[in-house]
């Protein structure tokens, strides 16, 4: 099972609704486990920053990252409606079963 750590920025002026986005990603990846970013067992870290400043503090994790920052995914502009699918697809690549 893919273990995904989630880290939000503090959402001071968000252009996207981070918690809603994560809820949607959870629906798209029902077999994955969503954990705190500090959890030592995570396979991949999902950073959810509300805007492109992307000031979310990075936890001590050296594994792979997927970064949502406003309407971008890994710095590439993305339509808001498409972000959940794009992120889910990227996260799934880190599932060892795949």
């Amino acid at each position: 099972m893919l273990k995904i750590g989630v880290k939000y920025c503090g959402n001071c002026n968000p252009q996207i609704d981070g918690p809603k986005l994560v809820k949607r990603i959870k629906e798209l990846l029902p077999d994955s486990l969503f954990l705190s970013a500090e959890d030592p067992g995570i396979d991949v870290l999902l950073i959810v920053s509300g805007c492109p400043v992307d000031c979310a503090t990075r936890p001590k994790f050296t594994g792979p990252l997927v970064v949502v920052a406003g309407k971008t995914v890994d710095r590439v502009p993305c339509e808001a409606a498409e972000i959940p699918e794009v992120v889910a697809e990227k996260l799934q690549k880190y599932d060892s079963k795949e």
Partner: protein
Amino acid sequence: MLTGQEYIESLKKLKPIIYYEGKKIESVVGHPLIQPHINSAAATYDVAFDPAFEDLGTAVSHLTGEKINRFTYIHQTPEDLVKKVKMLRMIGQRTGSCFQRCVGFDALNAVYSTTYDMDQKLGTSYHSRFVEYLKGVEKRDTMITGAMTDPKGDRGLKPSKQADPDMYVHYVSKNEEGIIVRGAKAHMTGMANSHEMLIMPTTALKEEDADYAVCCVIPVDAPGVLHIFGRQTNDGRKYNEIDQGNFKFGVVGGETLTILEDVFVPWDKVFMCGEYEFAGTLVERFASFHRQNYGACKIGLTDIIIGACALIADYNGTAKANHIKDKIVEMIHLSETMYCCSLACSGEGRKLASGACYVDPLLANVVKQNITRYIYEICRISHDIAGGIIATLPSEVDLKHPELGKYVQKYMMGVASVPVENRFKILRLIENMTGGTALVESMHGAGSPQAQRVMLARQANLEHKKELAKKLVDISD
């Protein structure tokens, strides 16, 4: 760390003596005048536990390495100062009102670095005493009132020259156990629902005013402490919901006049007692940290005001008019300009001798100077967009009245598809967030405009500017 609910429970254990209109308030929790301010302060606790906000709402203590509520943290880097600004904006967006806790936060930061400097210069041992106190604050997640402003009596006279010596807080005696303080602090934000107050001098002091150089911590319910809760614009509406505008979080911080009638303070809670040379440093640092905030929390509030204005334009059917669109853009411009200033004074933050980080004082004073103008301008525009109805709207009772309600519903309608009650709610929100008490806070909170201008004149490096002009046109003297 405490949750918002645990904070509220902790207040029930305190027994502060608080009066309003001559009557004693038996319990602040649940009292219609104070509960909104408690809800607002509770938001500062809750954000520490919500994954969406905790990156701003928490920090790692430089003293213990523990995760703590950011409101008890001593800034270590410019990034910390930026996080503070973002946190204040974020909470302001949630409460639409003052959440009070920044004053104590700024007081902690100012006292931390000033006691360090005092000890270096005077050989006192206030800093280690303060650090011990601070560790307890971090652990207990204490809500502290930053208590600087004295009643001041005749503004033209120094403390010791006042007709009544109690116009500024001073110590009247000291012994082996501690000190006795007397006087009062005015405009005390969040005092009614704090655990403790951190007393600081109001102004720079000279030797003849050494007795007024007092910095100490006092529980809000210590013997000899009495609070008188202040009136606010529209506080008679506290028993209605819609008419209050922001019924859940109220307006401004719920200020008190707090009287200290010979209050005993043990030495372990005393951080300045007679060291008049450092009163000015403490005031300047506290004021600069506090002025930094205004382009942060107030921007959370203007985010709501701008949103409310855009909504009322929708509800009134004016949203497509070019001048309305332009006025909204103007509000955004003013609001983000203030935010820029807060970010700038944070980004230019610097280390002090204690290792703690301090804002750029020149830029922090620019923040607050702009607030005294731009918030007024934003509120002026909001009144323009909302219409005269914010001054003449019938009451919530009449809106819901069995006989009158149908007339209010009929004639207070804007765009037909919008429920009249929604229009009422937004109009009341604009009215209460942009007038009276709320507006005055932008003028005088963290110091009147002239206080910033004095700092601007002092910090601006004018001689350097003169040299630049002379050099350009070859003047040498």
